[in-house]
Symmetry: C2
Subunit: 369 residues, 2 copies
């Protein structure tokens, strides 16, 4: 089957590019002597997670318990659930702990520690737990400069109902950067904060086996992971317009696109209608902090076109100059490079895997919670 035979909108994965990115990050981790534990939320498929893992580094990171169940059933044996656990999820987490050789959870709240210990007393569970640390992003995690953070680590390490695995952070503020130089600074901060905190725990005689960091921008640009043991990038398998805009990759390296049909020309408004709307692209604004004109993705091979508006199934394209409509007839196919490939991929019940203009495979991601 050829790309031109597909129904639109469709989510396309360029297999050679995907393989290049997977290999690049695997080699980068090996070269820098850190374990790669990829975040698979970007794609949620067994196929890509299989490519990303190796016998030496079999672990993955997931964003939901449903993902953990899916990967457990798909044969993965070492999973970190990278969202702070809550009391109402402990039964599900306990089932996963029982069915997996390694199932790690995250915690950063004293109240949740109490709930984990109560669960342990009642059910005899012993969870593998990371302390989630805020390295400057301010989304989640303890502030490692406070006495409370060391106190919580000590409580985790001392608990009868917990196997304390180490400390974990996500430098999501790397997404606020404008260029690789800025990303390198965030990567240094991510490393420094975590290594200093691990040292503080050591001084307090709290063993901290794993120091886990990661975001695709910092994983691409970190000059040094000395003291870090594990990285958890995810987006790198596809990359996207955001990553290209901030300098994590080049636009032509993005491995995921949305195939769409030009449904109409409206020359009076210098507009075209495509059948990729908010449900095909997501309303992620991309790297809007860079002050670019808003576009809900880039149109491959047509860099002057902007997707300026999305309704549920309608996408509207315009340009600053008059569009050369005759070069893009009604019925033409376009490929849209998504602003944020994780959110775009999540909207599709299946992915079409391509090599040049051929569809070579079809993968089914997991969905829901």
């Amino acid at each position: 089957m050829k790309i031109t035979d597909l129904k639109t909108p469709a989510f396309l994965i360029d297999l050679p590019k995907l393989k290049t990115h997977v290999q690049m990050m695997t080699e980068r981790a090996q070269k820098k002597s850190v374990i790669l534990r990829p975040h698979v939320k970007t794609h949620k498929t067994a196929e890509i997670a299989g490519m990303q893992t190796t016998p030496e580094a079999p672990g993955i990171t997931v964003s939901t318990l449903a993902e953990a169940r899916f990967y457990q059933k798909s044969g993965f044996k070492d999973i970190t659930y990278a969202f702070p656990i809550t009391a109402n999820k402990l039964n599900e987490a306990a089932e996963l702990s029982a069915s997996l050789p390694v199932f790690n959870i995250l915690l950063d709240q004293p109240q949740t520690l109490s709930a984990v210990e109560a669960h342990g007393r009642e059910h005899g569970t012993k969870f593998k737990v990371f302390l989630k640390v805020d390295c400057g992003y301010h989304r989640a995690g303890v502030d490692p400069s406070t006495p409370e953070s060391v106190r919580l680590a000590r409580q985790l390490a001392a608990s009868d109902y917990i196997e304390f695995k180490g400390i974990l952070t996500h430098a999501g503020h790397s997404y606020h950067c404008s260029n690789p130089a800025e990303i390198i600074e965030i990567a240094r901060q991510e490393r420094d904060v975590m290594v200093q905190f691990a040292d503080r725990l050591q001084e307090n005689e709290i063993a901290c086996d794993t120091v886990s960091v990661g975001s695709t921008p910092t994983a691409m640009h970190a000059p040094d992971w000395q003291g870090v043991t594990e990285i958890r990038p995810g987006n790198y398998v596809f990359f996207d317009k955001f990553q290209a805009d901030i300098g994590s990759c080049r636009m032509q390296e993005v491995a995921a696109t949305v195939l769409t049909t030009v449904a109409a020309h409206y020359p009076a408004h210098n507009q075209m209608l495509i059948d990729a709307g908010a449900l095909a692209l997501s309303k992620d604004l991309g790297a809007d902090h860079l002050g670019h004109e808003i576009s809900f993705g880039a149109v491959k091979n047509h860099p002057h076109l902007k997707i300026f508006s999305l309704a549920q199934e309608h996408g509207l394209i315009t340009a600053n100059d008059p569009i050369a409509f005759e070069k893009i007839p009604v019925g033409s196919l376009l490929q849209i490079i998504p602003n944020h490939s994780c959110l775009t991929a999540a909207l599709f019940p299946k992915y079409h895997v391509i090599e040049e203009d051929q569809v070579v495979d079809e993968w089914t991601p997991m969905r829901g919670w």
Copy 2:
């Protein structure tokens, strides 16, 4: 089962509110002597579409061909596919035409008319076609003030391969309004443009049986549908924060919420973490044209809280004043009123139907294209 037993995030539908809205719009259409052909893209379930239709008004509107197939299989017999058709979708559309007593498509491009006629010559198909009209929204449709619009209508009416059904518009610019008075103006424009165009077609001896309009804001506020035969609102079954903000409903009437768990408190940043992120809420900004502070939804019963940031599974809440954390302990459940219920609903593989604090049913929407 109680709401408190559900896994989070979960999409909740308040059944009594839903029924009230369904009945309200059905009665409104009957009272004003127009046929209600609800747009079911908001929910994509057989259950709600069943409530919205009657023996006298059995028709529905869909946004994708996959929805049309789902509803055909679910026993619906009168479906309008409300996105301009393209040549690459004609085979699928022909199958639907063959399997449904009424299957209407939209067209606004001369090139697409040529494709439809070529398909008819080759396959013997005769499509039921609406001319899509732009009543001022400038998303899709012919400009009814131009000679080209009448020419295209004449070609549709004269074609051997087309049954010309009438004219259809969507006043999506009602979503740019700030209050009911402005919406009433758009509703008048929507009606006036369409009725005047129907009159022009009549003068040109082009029969135009159906004059179809519709958006939830204009359907809620139109003072007069004289000359209109059909309305196609969709969002009204749930409403959402956007509709409340522009005055289509009151916030307490919104029938859809996302149930989420408070995962962490971060008093140093006056922030709370919830387990409803971009994949549970969508990144729709809501009625940002009103100049409100950005919030990705409203927190029910906590109007001072703002959801200021969404990552894939992380939602971050703050407030202008210090949050009373002790009133919303870690582990608490919150309900989020979505900015745009259509996009939020589309992210969930199932819906939980509630009456007060009880879960009374579970509905499975269709997904994909």
